[in-house]
Every structure is written in structure tokens, then in C-alpha cells.
Amino acid sequence: MNQLVYLVPLFPLIGFLINGLGRKSLSKSLIGVIGSGTILASFIVSLVLFFNVKNNGAVVVDYFNFINIDSLKISFAFQIDALSSLFLLIITGVGFLIHVYSTAYMQDEEPQHYGRYFAYLNLFVFSMLLLVMGANYVIMFIGWEGVGLCSYLLIGFWFKNDNYNYAAKKAFVMNRIGDLGFLLAVFWLIAKLGTANYADVFAHASSLTPFDVTAITLLLFVGAMGKSAQIPLYTWLPDAMAGPTPVSALIHAATMVTAGIYMIARSNVLYSMSAVTMNVVAIIGLVTALFSATIALKQNDIKKVLAYSTVSQLGYMFLGLGVGAYTGAVFHVMTHAFFKALLFLGAGSVIHAMHHEQDIRKMGGLKKHLPITHLTFLIGCIAISGIPPFSGFFSKDEILAAAFAKNPVYWGLGVAGAAMTAFYMFRLYATTFLGTFRGTHDQEHHLHESPSAMTIPLMVLALLSVVGGFVGVPEILGGHHELHGFLSSVLTTEVAHESSKNTEYVLMGISVAIAAIAIIFAINKFSKKPELQDAQGFGKVLENKWYVDELYDTFFVKTTLAKAKFLKDIIEKNVIDGAVNGVGKLVNYSSRQLRLIQSGQVGNYILFMVLAIVVVILLWVNDNHLYQYISKLF
């Protein structure tokens, strides 16, 4: 099966090239078929690889020497093991559904932009596949940067709107800050161990000093903060909603933002060695989960709610990583990919029906107009709220159980966050689908269910959101946790399951009960009487996202711009330009003078030559003295 490995990223790359180069000549339907078909092909190959890993274990396929400097050898190699094959399925599977969905969602675009869209999307999938398939940190970094680039391109897809461009820039800059951490960590690894290969790094990890391990893992975590939108680098993700909705579903919910979790899960050997880093990861994850959940409570843009919800769920995953529940975190990545992609695509369907209206205050009562969207969205909401037996319950419960084992406070805060999640999701649901329609008459007239290219992916994802959790049914509920067994070859487990069965039942019961209460409360509160006015008091703080953007703007953006202005107006104009022009003038002047030696008189030339010979002989005679003198000078 090893000879198939390269096909997985190759298909999307071909799709990117065809759609990118032929965007002006290909028809829309052909672009759509190529765009989706290549991902489907990758998905099929990924399935084959997945079962191969399941039956025969991991493989590393080494293609060629990518970088070869001195003793450092970095090969272009792919590693297909339990972790990466699972991610391959998520990326290509969910990716395929979203591509299909996009063919209908983007139908209004002009052909060349339609082609550009699919080219970017394919390029994204290609980069994401590189990220997870690479057998060393350098290949991962190529993918890491590639997905960042595609994210930038797709957020600013409608580049005629300056706000969107600003959002794209913000995402890119924030990601760069994280990337710096990632890069430093990789350099640190290379400096200490002389290799970036996963296998070699993990085999020799014990030779690193505790300080090195902590520094490397923290720096890697900085990279994860940027890519996976954790405090303090999370502000770009809500703004990234400027991109087309399927992009938000694919990149900013299901795949790219989980790259940070993938990377830490991949490096679990290193992380487990540093207790400090583990605590930092857990605390940052928990704080992010709570913080962004509070913001989501008061957002009125359907995509913004989902965006903050994504940040919050990512926080849960980091909490899971931080308490050592690597499998739980990866499990949550998977279920989250299902239900969050479903929710985003559902939101896209709503936005499609509402003619690009995103404010939920202007919706309401969409239940009867969009039956399929409504039903699938509801399933997504239940799944994310953690109601059994939907998928979100199992994964979230696993993280919370591990958190309890580590520190009950983590668990308490986690459950509080879960309650908020249930509350804002059903606030969103109730305001959008229940009650009466509050939009214009014209909008109501045009309300329609989306075409089947959009509803079929919704149904598939809804099904997955329902049953996706069954691969990880914990033992106390009579399951075997198949995922755990599958991933055990890659992920270490260090969660001490010290809590008794009864404790676990109680914990589970409490979290489900609280979520259920929050759901009932939210439906009651918002189905009849939605919040239409602007929030007051503390609600206003939440609505304005705790003013973090303003804070960053004042402290970082403005000061940086001020420095830039100083450099531009003072240093650049006077010092640099002065030096450059000065050198230019000096050269010009000396050129004019030197030119005069060239008099055209042979007699003069020969005189100069004779003098030069004399000088050369003198230099030679006094060579040693002169050399010593010059050596002293330098």
C-alpha cells in the first residue's frame, strides 16, 4: 500500500493546478467536478491507507532528501500511522462534503472566481494533508504555512471589500506570530538533537534537559495558539468569518484550526515530559473555552456565534491535551469536525436562503421554510451541547473525566463552559428557527430550502454527528472505546483513572443535566421573545467581546504603527535615503575624476604602468612589514 501514499496529496494538487490555471476557460460544472472529484479520490485512497494501518500498522515512506546540510538530513517523507490516517479521513471526508456543498453555495460567482475558489480550496486540502502526513517537523511546517496562506486567500476571497482584506491580514499576522514560535521550537530541536524526524526526536527525547523540553514544548504551543486560535492569539478566528461560509466550515472549524491539536498530540512524547507545559496548555485551554463561551452568549451574527463556539471547543481540546487525555482531544477533534462543519454548513444554508443576511435578529421562524436545514442544525446543536447519545457527549465527557482526575476545579469550570455552550447554541437555534419571521416581506417571499448539493452534505454530517461518538464509547457505558485502542500505538495515556465507576456516573449525570437545563431555559427564553435590542450593562461588554480587539489595537497595532511611522518619516527619509544618495554621489564624483586618468595618451599609460611596476616591486619587498601592519589594523 506504500506506493499509494503520495497519491493522497497529489490529487488535490492536480485539482489546484487545473482549476487555478483553467479558471478562465473551464465551465463551472467542470470546475466543481474536478474540485470535488480530486478530494473524493484522496478520500478513497485515505480509506485504503486507514485500513492498512489498522491491519498492518504504521508506515513511513521516504521520498527524497529535502534538505541536506552538513550532518543535518531532512527527508521528504510521509508517515502514515493511526493518528495521521485518522486525520486524513477527517480532512478528505469532511473536505469532500464541503466541496460538494460549495458547488451550490458559490454558484452565483463568476466562472473565473468560481475556479479561483476551488483552486484555493484544493490547495488548502493539499497543504493540510502535507501537514498531517509529514514524517518530520519541517514537512509539517510546509503544510502549516500552506494552510495559513490558503486561509488568508480564502478569508479575503471577496477582495473588493476592504474589511474582508483587513480580516485576512489580521489572520495572517496573528498566525505568523504563532509560526515564529513553531519555527524556533523546530530550530531548537534541530540544534539539540540534530534531527526533526518524529521517530528520531521521540526516541532521543530523553537526552534533552528539562529546560529544553519545556522551552520547546512551550514554543510549539505558541504555534498552536496562533493556528488553533487560543488566548491570546484567538481574535483572528471570529474575523475570519469574512470568508465564504463553506470555508469557515472547512478551514475555521473542521480542519485547519485543529492543526495545533494534531501537532501537540503528535508531540505527546515531548509534552508528557514537561509538567509545566502541560499545566500551561490545560489552563490556557480552559480559560479560552470559558472566555469565548461568554462572548458567544451575546453575539447576534450567526457565524460569529459559531466562530466563538469553535474557539471555545478548541479550548476544550487543549484542556484535554493539557490533562493528558490525548485520545480524548483527538476524539473531540473528530466529533467537532462533524458537528461544527454541520452547523456552519447549516448556517450557510440559512444565509443562502436569507440572501446573505447574517443577523439572527432578522431571522426567526425558519423552521417551516427550511425543514432539512432546521432538522440537521438541531442535531448539530444537540451534539455540541453534549446530550447522549450524540457524538459530542462522548468526546466531551472523556475530556471532562480526565480533567476531573487531574483537578476537580478544571472539571467544574469545564462543565460551566459546557452549560454556556448549550445555552448559546440553543439561543442561536431558537432565535433563528423558532418564533416568527422578523425579516422583510421580500426576504420572506424568497425563502427556500437549499438545493440538494447543499442538503445532502448536511444530512451526511448530521448522521455522522449522531453516530460518530460510538467509536469511543467508554467502558463504564459498556463500550470498548475502539478509538482508544486504535490510537494507542501513537498516543501515550497517562490519565490516572482513579475515580471510581460511581463517581464517573455522577459526573456524567451532572454535566448532562446542566446542559439539558441550559437548553430548556434557552428555548423557553428565546423562542417566544428573542433579544432584539442592543445589550445593556455587562451584556454590552460581552457583545463587544470584552473589548479585546480594542485593547490589542491600542497596545500593539497603534504602537507598532507609530514606530513604523517614525522609521518611515525620520530614519528612512533622513538617515537611509541620505546614506544611499550620499554613496551614489560619491561614486558618481569619483567616477568623473577617475575617468580623467584615461587620457588616451599612450605615453601617459606607459608611464603609469612603469610607476605601477615600481610600486608592485616595493610592495613585494616590504611585504612582511606591511602585512604585519595591516594585520594589526584589522
Binding site: G584, V587, N588, S590, S591, R592, L594, R595, I597, Q598, G600, V602, N604, Y605, I606, F608, M609, L611, A612, I613, V616, I617, L619, W620, N622, D623, N624, L626, Y627, I630, S631, F634
Partner: protein, 464 residues
């Protein structure tokens, strides 16, 4: 040995072809065929296929490095014939003789790449140079051409005298003309008790500096290059100059580490003077042709690093690369220049609009001369500087920094041409542009870029 014999024969053939036909295009084609044969027999020689063995009594010694150098220069000459053959025909009415002279010059080069004896070196230099005196004055009715020819001859004779003096002194100190014994005799004990041997070597050094137009022995270069018919300037500035460097390397190859001590000051001084004179003076020129003359001095400054780095493999690889990169680019630029109506910078105004292909190729070649990455010129310069650092370590870092700074200055005058072509309005005129000319340019540009991306391909061939 093949190259020496066949180039001389080709020269004779060319002289006779002038008797049998006055049709210049036939003559040009004969020359191209003869040169192709010359390249072929030299390649045969390189790989030991078929060679004329003559016992030279150790006066000449052949090795792969020399053969390979021949190949590069012959191929460059071939491209020169392809691109500028028509222009050679236009210089005057003795087309066949011009070709004959070029072949004799190539014969001198073949001797220079294989000499093992100072007398042979002297012969090679003279066989190479004397045809050039004539070619410089080929435009008989043009006073500038005559003046340049006379100047070149006078100063060339002067440097020949110096070289002979040097050889004499070396002979006096050591008692023989062969290369290795002289070098070893000049070192060590002899240095301490006799000044004669080293002084002789110094004089030979000076006259070779003259040949490769290193400052302050470069004064003839701008005048001669400017006055000579442009086609022959192209030949002199590239192929001849590169051959001069080969003589340099060959002579100093056996130089021991003791000797290097005594070059510690002279070499840097010469290099800096050459870089200074070439680069700085080029800045102020108004004629592209004259600018190229100074640029050739500046490039010589870089090539001198190989002499400084003496006998290390990076330097030897580098000079091959440099010879190829520099000769190809300059031949191409000259080929375009020759067909321009106006030789000043202003004459290039607006060329990009009128002849986008030619402007693009010209840009690539100029970028290569400036040493911009992805062109051959970048790696050529890189190898030169790497060779110096390899030989001298940290103590030559300052020299390398100076060289890089001067390379930055050179960007100014090379880019002036690009600027004129692309960013200025005007109606530049190029004459006689046909498809073969464009094809030749395309090959040169492709070579420059492919060497710039994969320099090791050329070098691997060398080690093959």
C-alpha cells in the same frame, strides 16, 4: 594536441577559402563547420578517444582541466560565430582572413591551456595576441580603429618585453624554463639569498596582469575595446580574457605556500585597484560599449580571486564557471549591441516595447553579469569568493566584503541598460533581427539560467 593542430589547420583553411570564393556567407559557414570540428576533436582528446600524439619533450602537458577550458572557450566562440557571423562579414572585405586570424588566436589559446614551460607560455600569449592587433585595426578606413590597433600593439609590445625580462630572470635564477622546478626553486632557500628569481616571477605576473587588464595595467583596455570593431571587441573581451586567466592559474598552480606569503599584499592591492578602476569608472560612461569595456575590467577583478586563492579546487571550478558565465553573457550583450543603431544608453530607450524578446534576453544576461541569483553570474561570483575564503580564512573576509560592495556598484550601470529598455520612452532601433539570431540568444539565455540553477551540472561534467 588535437586542438592546437586543428585550430592552426582551420586558420590555413580559412585563408585559402578566401581565394576560392568571395561569397561571405559561404566563408562564414565554412568557419562554423571548422569550429564545430575543432570542438569535436577537442572533446575526443578530452576523453582519450582519438588524439594525435606528439612527443613535446615535456614542453606541453595536457590535462582534463585544460581540455575542458578549451571546450568552454570554443563553444563560446561558436555561439559568437552564430550570433555575430553576419557582423564579421560587414567589418571589411577580408572576411576569410578575419576568421583565419580568430582561429590562429584560438591556436594560441590551445597552447596556453597546455604549456608546461615558460617559453611555451610566451609563445601561446604571442600567438593569441598578435592576430588581435590586426583584428583591432580591421576597420581600415576608420581612424579610431587604426589608433586603437596601434595603441594596443605598442602597449602589448611593452608588456611582452616585460614578460621576456621576467622569463630571463627566472631562467637566470634557476637554469631552466620548466614550470614545476622553477616554482620550487624560487621558494625557500633561493628567496633568501637571491632576489632574481622572485623578481622574474613578479615581472611575468605584471605582464599577465596586463593581458587580463588588471589595474593599474588596464589603461589600454577602454581605448582598444572602444576603438576596435565591436564584433572583435566582443571576442577580445570574453574568450581572450578568459584564456589569459588560464595562463595565470597554470603559472601559479605549483606555487608553494612560502610564495603565497609574498603575494599577501600585492594581490589584494591589485584586486581592489581593478575592482575600483572598473566599477567606478563604468558608472560615468555614456556609451554602452565603453561601459562594457570597464565592466570587463571589473569582472577581471573578480576573476583575480582565483589567482589569489591559488590551487584550490573551488577556485578551479569557479574559474570554469566564471569563464562560461562571463563569456556567454558578454557575447550575447555584444551581439545585441552590435546591431543597435545607437551605442549610448539612450539608444536602448524603449527597446522592450519594440523587441520584447531581445530586451528580455538582454536583461537576463545583464542580471548574470551583475551576479543576481538564478543566473550563472551569481554562482560564478559565489565560487570566486568562496575560493578566497577557503584559501585565506577570516583574514580575507575584508577583501571579500569589498568585492561584494563593488558588485553592488556594478548593479548600477548594468541596470541602467535595463532601465532604458523598459522604463524609458524612445524608439530604439535594432537592425537585422532574424530568427537565427533570436535562436542563438535563446540558447545563451537558457544556458545562463540553467547554469544559474544547477551549476553542479557543468562542474560534474568537468569531473566526469
Amino acid at each position: 594536441m588535437n586542438a592546437i593542430i586543428f585550430s592552426a589547420l582551420a586558420g590555413v583553411v580559412m585563408m585559402f577559402s578566401g581565394i576560392f570564393t568571395k561569397n561571405t556567407s559561404i566563408i562564414t559557414n565554412v568557419a562554423r563547420v571548422a569550429l564545430a570540428v575543432l570542438i569535436a576533436v577537442n572533446l575526443l582528446d578530452t576523453y582519450g578517444g582519438w588524439m594525435i600524439a606528439v612527443d613535446t619533450k615535456n614542453l606541453l602537458s595536457f590535462n582534463k582541466f585544460g581540455f575542458f577550458f578549451n571546450t568552454i572557450l570554443f563553444v563560446a566562440t561558436f555561439l559568437f560565430f552564430v550570433l555575430s557571423g553576419r557582423d564579421i562579414e560587414k567589418v571589411g572585405s577580408y572576411t576569410a582572413e578575419y576568421y583565419a586570424l580568430i582561429f590562429f588566436s584560438l591556436c594560441g589559446i590551445a597552447v596556453l591551456t597546455s604549456f608546461n614551460n615558460l617559453l611555451m607560455m610566451f609563445l601561446g600569449v604571442e600567438i593569441m595576441s598578435i592576430p588581435l592587433y590586426i583584428l583591432t585595426g580591421a576597420d581600415k578606413k576608420n581612424l579610431k580603429s587604426n589608433e586603437a590597433s596601434l595603441k594596443y600593439f605598442l602597449m602589448g609590445s611593452f608588456s611582452t618585453g616585460i614578460m621576456l625580462m621576467g622569463i630571463t630572470l627566472v631562467y637566470g635564477a634557476t637554469g631552466n624554463f620548466n614550470l614545476p622546478p622553477i616554482s620550487s626553486a624560487v621558494t625557500g632557500a633561493v628567496v633568501s639569498d637571491s632576489i632574481i628569481g622572485p623578481l622574474g616571477l613578479l615581472l611575468i605576473f605584471v605582464s599577465l596582469c596586463f593581458k587580463v587588464s588588471a589595474a593599474p595595467f588596464h589603461f589600454w583596455t577602454p581605448d582598444v575595446y572602444d576603438g576596435a570593431p565591436s564584433v572583435f571587441t566582443s571576442f577580445m573581451a570574453t574568450i581572450i580574457k578568459a584564456a589569459g586567466f588560464f595562463a595565470f592559474i597554470k603559472l601559479f598552480e605549483e606555487r608553494s605556500s612560502d610564495l603565497r606569503v609574498s603575494w599577501k599584499i600585492i594581490m589584494p592591492v591589485i584586486i581592489i585597484a581593478t575592482l575600483l578602476a572598473g566599477n567606478i569608472t563604468a558608472v560615468f560612461q555614456q556609451s554602452v560599449k565603453r561601459m562594457l569595456a570597464y565592466s570587463s575590467i571589473a569582472q577581471a577583478g573578480f576573476m583575480l580571486f582565483v589567482v589569489y586563492a591559488n590551487n584550490n579546487s573551488i577556485g578551479k571550478e569557479g574559474i570554469l564557471l566564471y569563464a562560461a558565465a562571463y563569456s556567454l553573457a558578454t557575447i550575447g550583450i555584444f551581439a545585441i549591441l552590435i546591431r543597435m543603431k545607437d551605442y549610448t544608453f539612450n539608444g536602448y530607450n524603449g527597446l522592450a516595447k519594440k523587441e520584447p524578446f531581445i530586451a528580455a534576453v538582454n536583461t537576463i544576461l545583464l542580471l548574470s553579469l551583475a551576479g543576481i541569483p538564478l543566473t550563472a553570474g551569481f554562482f560564478a561570483k559565489y565560487y570566486m569568493l568562496a575560493a578566497a575564503i577557503n584559501a585565506g580564512g577570516k583574514s580575507v573576509l575584508w577583501l571579500v566584503v569589498i568585492a561584494v560592495l563593488f558588485a553592488a556598484v556594478s548593479v548600477y550601470y548594468y541596470f541602467r541598460v535595463i532601465q532604458a529598455m523598459y522604463f524609458k520612452e524612445g524608439d530604439a532601433e535594432v537592425e537585422n533581427v532574424n530568427n537565427r539570431f533570436k535562436f542563438g540568444l535563446l540558447i545563451i539565455a537558457a544556458l545562463i539560467i540553467s547554469i544559474g540553477i544547477l551549476p553542479s551540472v557543468l562542474l560534474n561534467w568537468f569531473y566526469f
